[in-house]
Amino acid sequence: MVEEQNYYKKKLQEVQKHTELKENAEEKRWRDTTLKKWNEKTDFNEKEYTNSSDIKIKDIYTSSDLPADQEPLLGISGEYPFTRGVYPNMYRGKYWTMRMFSGFGTPEDTNSRLKYLISHGETGLSIAFDMPTLYAIDCDSKRAEGEIGKCGVNVTSLKDMEVVFDGIDLSKVTTSMTINAPAAVLTAMYFAIAEKQGLDLNKIGGTVQADILKEYIAQKEWIYPPEAHLRIIRDMMVFCTKNAPKWNYISISGYHIREAGASAVQELAFTLADGFYYVDMGIKAGLDPNRFAPRLSFFFNSSINFFEEIAKMRAARRIWATVLKEKFGVTDPRAQMLRFHTQTSGYTLTWQQPLNNIIRTTVEAMAAVFGGTQSLHTNSYDEAMALPSEEAVKIALRTQQILAEETGIADTIDPLAGSYYLEALTNEIEKEAYRYFDKIESMGGILNAVKNGYIQREIAATSYRRQKRLESGEEIMVGVNRYVEKDEKPINILKISKEAEKIQLSRLKNTKETRNVEKVKKSLDALREAFRDEKKNVMPFLIDAAKSYATIEEISDVGREIYGGWKEPVIV
């Protein structure tokens, strides 16, 4: 392994050379004659063009905006550094997976939804949880009142998970669970169900998000201080590498970072910095990165500035492959590949004139396809307001189908490669990402930069700047600050019934009355011991606790006793 202290600084100097402009005689001649004359004759807009990352956009790009050695920076699809895509034949082999996020209300609601999807041929299930579950708060807690089943399904104990997966053979599906702070607990529950179905864990495939660093950065759903969560995730990595090799234990997510107001460069830089941290953590836990890195996948946002998004995704692949190879000594190409899921931007959806959101989502979905995504969720037009209605979800799915099967944009691999603008922008975004890596390294790494609030403040500053640009009209949102309509008619949106709360409360009451209290206590005591002993792996103890029907809050409280909570640094 090549360990260099100032790797990112050296790298920054290297990629900086790719963005140095050369004199182009032809461009200069054009500027001084044709363009100048034209501008004198016509109204010329002097405004400065920039994108979300504050990168200045030139009026025209030419070959001199690219370095002489541009070709090796691209490579060919399926080959290092994977700028043009991770698979040799890309969408000719297989379209991206059209994965629509679902789950709401009671476990029963979600179970029938999953069965409906399976009966229509879907084998990749995706589950969203409600806020109490995401924070490991039981449904009978005072704090959970009014929140049950609102943003996803409520899971308080293994009983609920048994209902979610009732009648579903876990060896025949893969399940993606969007959960972070209690990711190991939900994984434990899932494994417990597999065991009850008589399945060996090495047959079980799926994904948990478990990207705790971005929680501190953006989504703010945590239970313990960062180090405690990281230890649990490390244990999950080690346990799964050995026992459940098809389980993807971290989905490194830029999506939420972007939604929190970050620019494209910030999303890219902070997400990859998180990723490097997990790679380092795995290596320090004694795992071989050639073996575990393929289990790390990414999740990016596709926002509205078309070329900026495509450039970001292409730069992401190049940076990941390069750093894994050069800094972490990863040699297996499969472990150098950055594979990612994309969701179109929720930030760009508007309440006003909601049907316009279909157009925004289409453009963003196109960017994800040109960016070479492995799977895609398209937002529904009503998602700015609530969980999507069935009709809206259908249009969102159809959008992807039209892009894939009618437009021809997926007919050839990485069709925009070689565009002066796109390649120059890719190089520029890559450089800005390395600038952040260098800065983060100088602060003692991403964990420190998150704990002292630097990353969060960077994002809040960008977010406020954008809001001010919207206020001043420098940035346009149709229907919001231009082409505004008065007295818009409200659209129909999905309402979650209060029934979910009642059903969950009564199930929990029943579970608590019927479970073996002694067994619960014993499993939690054993878990406590494991938490206290750094050398023990907590996963088997979490599985035992789940099987005893200890609740998500009871299980997490064991950690709360030992690690305490976490208060974020002051951001504003």
């Binding site: 909570g565 208060k567 002051v570 504003v572």
Partner: protein, 292 residues
């Protein structure tokens, strides 16, 4: 309406002042980001647990341009406040010395009359306004941390003299030992001080250091009680503040207005000093001093 309210306020404060005199006002100051709020939060929790009452006044800076401010100190100790039901009030310095002094003094008088054992005032310790606030305190604690370099030098210059207790925070940091030694050396030069000033090393994770600080604050109180100095600074502060305020409003402002309104004073530029001398002489200060 405004005037009537103002008079009512003064009357109330004057009455409440008589009920006070029990609280020890502790000013805690130091550069931004040094961990004052965390220190205060943890220390206050310990005080509460020992059965005493504590209230906190935290002063944040206002923007000189818009007058607005983000009162961020509260959020740093929020959990302790909620858990222990500690009273805290955030004040913005509002860019001006006067506004802050007025509201801080009023708050101290009210809290003192309400029977708090400790009233803690937190400031960033830079600028005259913050230094003035420290004149409200019976005990001034200066919080420092290793490795802040010039920032500490700037702060120390103004406040070393008036601090009674020093805290070296973040003792787990590199250079902490020498930074502490450095201050101890400076303090060893204290000759005429009747109170022996000390430096306390503090680490966020160690509750002993907070106890040590509370004890040092207690020792300073004993000293003040013995020397008959408790509450004296505050009284001086109140007197000075009220006097300056009233003199400005009832004397200085009308005089200046009068000078401006008299066309004969158009050539004031040349004889400003003479004019002021004339005014002072006509005030009969000597006669006044005899009467007080």
């Amino acid at each position: 309406m405004e005037g009537a309210n103002d008079n009512l306020r003064k009357e109330l404060l004057a009455k409440l002042y008589q009920y006070g005199g029990h609280s020890q006002v502790v000013g805690i100051t130091g550069p931004p980001g040094i961990g004052k709020s965390t220190l205060i939060g943890n220390m206050s929790s310990l005080i509460i647990k020992s059965g005493k009452k504590v209230a906190i006044l935290a002063i944040d800076a206002s923007s000189p341009y818009t007058g607005g401010s983000l009162l961020g100190n509260r959020i740093r100790m929020q959990d302790q406040l909620w858990e222990n039901k500690i009273y805290m009030r955030s004040l913005a310095n509002r860019g001006s010395k006067g506004g802050l002094a007025d509201s801080a003094l009023g708050s101290v008088i009210i809290l003192d009359s309400a029977g708090y054992d400790y009233i803690i005032i937190e400031t960033v310790g830079s600028g005259q306004a913050d230094l003035d606030i420290m004149n409200l305190a019976d005990t001034t604690v200066l919080v420092l941390a290793p490795g802040l370099g010039d920032q500490i030098q700037a702060i120390k210059a103004g406040i070393m003299e008036i601090a009674d207790i020093f805290v070296m925070n973040k003792m787990d940091r590199e250079g902490a030992y020498f930074a502490m030694k450095d201050i101890e050396d400076t303090l060893s030069l204290d000759e005429n001080k009747e109170f022996r000033r000390e430096v306390i090393g503090s680490t966020i994770t160690k509750s002993e250091s907070y106890l040590e600080l509370i004890n040092a604050i207690g020792r300073h109180r004993e000293f003040l009680d013995r020397a008959g100095q408790m509450g004296k600074k505050r009284l001086d502060f109140a007197l000075r503040w009220v006097l300056e305020d009233e003199l400005k409003e009832k004397l200085i402002d009308p005089i200046i207005a009068k000078i401006h309104s008299n066309p004969k004073n158009a050539s004031l530029k040349e004889n400003i000093y003479q004019e002021v001398d004339f005014i002072i002489d006509s005030l009969d200060i000597r006669g006044l001093l005899k009467k007080i």
